[in-house]
């Protein structure tokens, strides 16, 4: 296991370096935006003195590298500064929104990942049958439609025509878990529809790719029934690509769902980011971008580790 630990530590280190590079990119991108934060915050009627005072208050009179490092050292300790628009601490502003987003993403993932893998195994088993084609067409249709469109369709049928679920997924304090799950079902379902096709098709392809292997023929010649050949002999060797696609889709569930949040008026982090960009609330923008980057890096790292752990050559060295 020593080897695996080393590999994981190396990946973790590389992930940190990547995150550092991204932090530079985020900071520079914000720097490159036209106009001045102080002017933007104070509006058009601001006098030169006011702007200068604001700049000094925000520390904008310092050179960029100095500001970058003070931002970075704050970020490392969990302090992303103060919002420019509401004087709240950025962490206080982001925290609850991030939790909401993570909740919705987990809700969708808990349904989508097992569903995609089970469907993938089933279409691999029944490949080139009617079932295979129908499932492929349906999932491709759902992935090809924009998610806001899917959202409205679901609202139309499951909230308006048959009022089973609420169309608006706003949350309030003191709701019980079943209530929350019921309230957020439609946005979760929308996201499930968006990510399932990708993972399912990769599962199918990864398994079918292995079916020509000599050890699959061997399993058949040992009399193993078709489902056992797929589940016991092909699937364990197909995990690496499947895990990678799952990780990418999980990252999407966290970082890419702003449209779903808007459609269902869900108080997630995506909406917060859009608001912050339009109001030039740069500390919030920077913090959210950094969180998104960290999400991608962490999930890809998890996928790498998962792929390593499913590889017997690495798990059991000679």
């Amino acid at each position: 296991m020593g080897d695996v630990a080393t590999i994981i530590l190396k990946r973790l280190g590389l992930g940190l370096v990547t995150l550092l590079v991204i932090s530079v990119l985020i900071f520079s991108a914000v720097e490159l935006l036209p106009g001045d934060v102080a002017e933007a915050v104070l509006g058009q009627g601001a006098t030169a003195e006011n702007v200068a005072a604001m700049r000094e208050k925000l520390g904008l009179d310092q050179p960029a590298p100095v500001r970058y490092f003070s931002w970075l050292s704050g970020a490392v300790t969990g302090d992303f500064g103060v919002s420019l628009t509401s004087d709240e601490r950025v962490t206080d502003k982001i925290g609850p929104r991030l939790l909401n987003t993570l909740f919705l993403a987990s809700y969708a993932a808990v349904i989508a990942v097992p569903l995609a893998i089970v469907l993938g195994v089933m279409v691999a088993l029944l490949r080139n049958t009617l079932f295979d084609r129908v499932v492929n067409v349906l999932t491709l249709t759902s992935i090809s439609s924009p998610e806001f469109f899917l959202g409205y369709i679901l609202i139309l049928y499951l909230a308006v025509k048959a009022p089973l679920f609420p169309a608006i997924a706003s949350l309030s304090h003191g709701m019980s878990l079943p209530e929350v799950l019921h309230r957020t079902f439609l946005p979760a379902l929308t996201m499930v529809l968006v990510v399932t096709a990708h993972m399912m098709r990769m599962t199918r392809a990864a398994i079918i790719n292995l079916l020509a292997s000599p050890y699959i023929e061997m399993a058949r010649l040992k009399g193993a029934p078709a489902w056992k050949v797929i589940v016991r002999h092909a699937l364990p060797n197909a995990w690496a690509p499947i895990i990678n696609v799952v990780a990418l889709n999980l990252a999407y569930l966290i970082t890419g769902v702003v449209l779903v949040e808007v459609v269902f008026v869900y108080p997630g982090i995506g909406q917060l980011l859009v608001d912050a960009v339009s109001k030039r609330d740069f500390p919030v923008v920077q913090a959210v971008c950094l969180i998104f980057a960290a999400t991608f890096i962490l999930l890809n790292l998890a996928a790498d580790i998962g792929a390593i752990l499913t590889n017997p050559r690495l798990r059991h060295p000679k």
Binding site: E217, M218, K222, G223
Partner: protein, 551 residues
């Protein structure tokens, strides 16, 4: 083996026809083969690739690979007609009453599960044994097949076990349900001779002990002679002849069978080194090399003179190909030097001059992977001619035509074709032409015939010999096949674990006394004598067989 009492009929195949799907139509690839097998009997199926051996073997299990179908005839296994049985009915036979041992155990064991987990799969599936009983039985079989640590080896993963051991574990797995019939599909083809002999002995013992009937598929006559009671020779899906093993060896009736025998008799006269102080073309001097921290070569030295063939032999992992990599500059040795016509070569190919690079060329084992499938033949051959010779236009075309003539392929037919359109032997000829195109004085041939059928391989060896005489080429011939060495070598270098064990002229090397390892190598080459295996095992003493396997 020959005088077993007659037993009841187990497998009766009549007029078996199999079709394969290619170019969008079904083409018959097995044309009416009949065979019968009694309980406890071993039938050898032999022929070149494309003869339909494996296809027929699998059909005996009622199995056709994707893109194949059984189109006619009958297959009766112990009273059950397989061609009309449902897939479900046939599946119940597989693994329980008919088992299969594949050519490459390394590829046929699932990398995700331990050996024993795969071993007990069939007995558990058929509810013949409980898990613990099945595991104990597996250990018992491992013990009988003389695997080291039979109690423990089953809990390893396939990649943790050597090739010869895997092949024996696969034979054990085939035995798990004590089948009536086992199909052995080239079980030793991928192994070194020293490992092959153990696997052969183990297979023969276990087939005898359990009185299992077997179909033994191979292209190696000498191997099948050790294993089979009777032999059937196949050619392109047709039967050539069938008779008992002794009869077949002593008195083959058909010309084709005799031609298979004849392959091993190709020999050319041995040349000796030029006298005086002739400078060798290539002189490897005290080379050490390592991959990372693992040392793979130690003090390797030998000379190759113009117009001569030096065969470098040894098991896989003995450092043969690594030595070639050092000579070509692909791997820089950590110590020692390589002289070319007496002049020291830079260790890395990057520092060598174009002329130094031109002088040494390579021909590879797998012509399939060594030729770019998307590039036309004339470009493959023309590139080195252009790069080293600066030819272009009409001169280049003339040179490519000349090279195609040299390798005995009609230029007008092959000039514009792509590698996948050619047969294995033709591809290897293109590989040779590509090496020749640079006008080298030295060619490294890395197992160039081991992926080819015997007749085709013989053609390649004759071609190489002709070219050597014509251009006074020096060959370094890497091989693990001692029959090839006998055929073409002038001098032999025996390597083991990165060291040169023994070297000298071919005549010397094949004459005793040998270094013990050379002796082991030589005595492990199967001979066309049905009693060869028994004799060798007796000479060595059974206990010694396992020792050679410890890799």
């Amino acid at each position: 083996m020959a005088d077993k009492p007659k037993k009841s009929l187990l497998l009766d195949v009549k007029d078996l026809r199999i079709e394969g799907y290619s170019d969008e139509k079904w083409v018959e690839i097995v044309h009416g083969i009949s065979l019968s097998l009694n309980r406890g009997e071993v039938l050898g199926l032999i022929g070149e690739s494309g003869a339909g051996k494996s296809t027929i073997g699998l059909a005996a299990m009622g199995y056709a690979r994707d893109g194949c179908r059984i189109s006619g005839g009958s297959i009766e296994f112990d009273g059950m007609e397989l061609t009309t049985s449902s897939e479900m009915e046939m599946r119940v036979l597989r693994g329980s009453r008919i088992a299969y041992v594949a050519q490459s155990a390394a590829a046929s064991f699932n990398p995700a599960h331990t050996l024993i987990e795969q071993h007990v799969e069939a007995p558990l599936h058929y509810r013949m044994r409980k898990r613990t009983e099945a595991q104990e039985d597996a250990m018992e079989l491992y013990h009988r097949l003389r695997l080291p640590n039979p109690q423990e080896i089953g809990f390893r993963y396939p990649h943790q076990v050597s090739g010869g051991q895997l092949q024996r574990a696969m034979t054990a797995m085939a035995m798990a349900c004590r089948p009536d019939l086992i199909i052995f599909d080239e079980p030793t083809t991928a192994l070194d001779v020293t490992t092959q002999i153990e696997v052969l002995a183990a297979i023969r013992d276990i087939v005898d002990q359990f009185d299992t009937a077997a179909i033994y598929i191979t292209h190696d006559l000498a191997v099948v002679a050790q294993m089979a009671d009777k032999i059937k020779v196949l050619l392109k899906g047709d039967e050539v002849e069938e008779s008992s093993t002794e009869e077949m060896l002593d008195n083959p009736k058909e010309d084709y069978t005799r031609s298979l025998w004849a392959v091993r008799s190709f020999k050319r006269t041995q040349k000796s080194r030029p006298g005086g102080d002739a400078v060798p073309v290539v002189s490897v001097q005290d080379i050490d090399a390592s991959y990372g921290t693992a040392k793979v070569l130690e003090d390797v030295s030998f000379d190759i003179h113009a117009g001569m063939t030096v065969a470098v032999v040894g098991e896989s992992g003995s450092g043969k190909s690594t030595t070639a990599r050092c000579i070509t500059g692909l791997l820089a040795p950590t110590k020692g030097k390589v002289l070319f016509n007496g002049e020291e070569l830079p260790t890395s190919y990057r520092d060598r001059t174009k002329d130094q690079l031109r002088q040494a060329q390579m021909i590879y084992q797998m012509a399939d992977t060594a030729l770019n499938p998307k590039v036309k033949i004339h470009e493959i051959i023309g590139r080195p001619a252009k790069f080293y010779g600066g030819l272009s236009g009409a001169a280049l075309k003339a040179r490519v035509d000349e090279l195609l003539d040299l390798i005995e392929l009609e230029p007008s037919q092959y000039y514009n074709r792509y590698p996948p359109e050619l047969s294995g032997g033709q591809k290897q000829r293109i590989g040779i032409a590509r090496a020749l195109a640079a006008n080298p004085s030295f060619i490294i041939c890395d197992e160039v015939t081991s992926a080819l059928d015997q007749l085709v391989a013989e053609g390649i060896l004759k071609l190489l010999d002709k070219l050597q005489r014509e251009f006074d080429l020096a060959y370094m011939f890497i091989t693990h096949d001692l029959a090839t060495v006998r055929a073409i070598a002038d001098e032999v270098v025996v390597m083991r674990r990165g060291k040169v064990i023994e070297q000298g002229s071919k005549v010397e090397m094949f004459k005793p006394p040998h270094h013990p390892y050379t002796d082991l190598l030589l005595s492990s080459v199967p001979e066309m004598d049905p009693n060869w295996l028994t004799t060798v095992l007796e000479e060595r003493g059974v206990d010694n067989i396992g020792d050679a396997a410890k890799v």
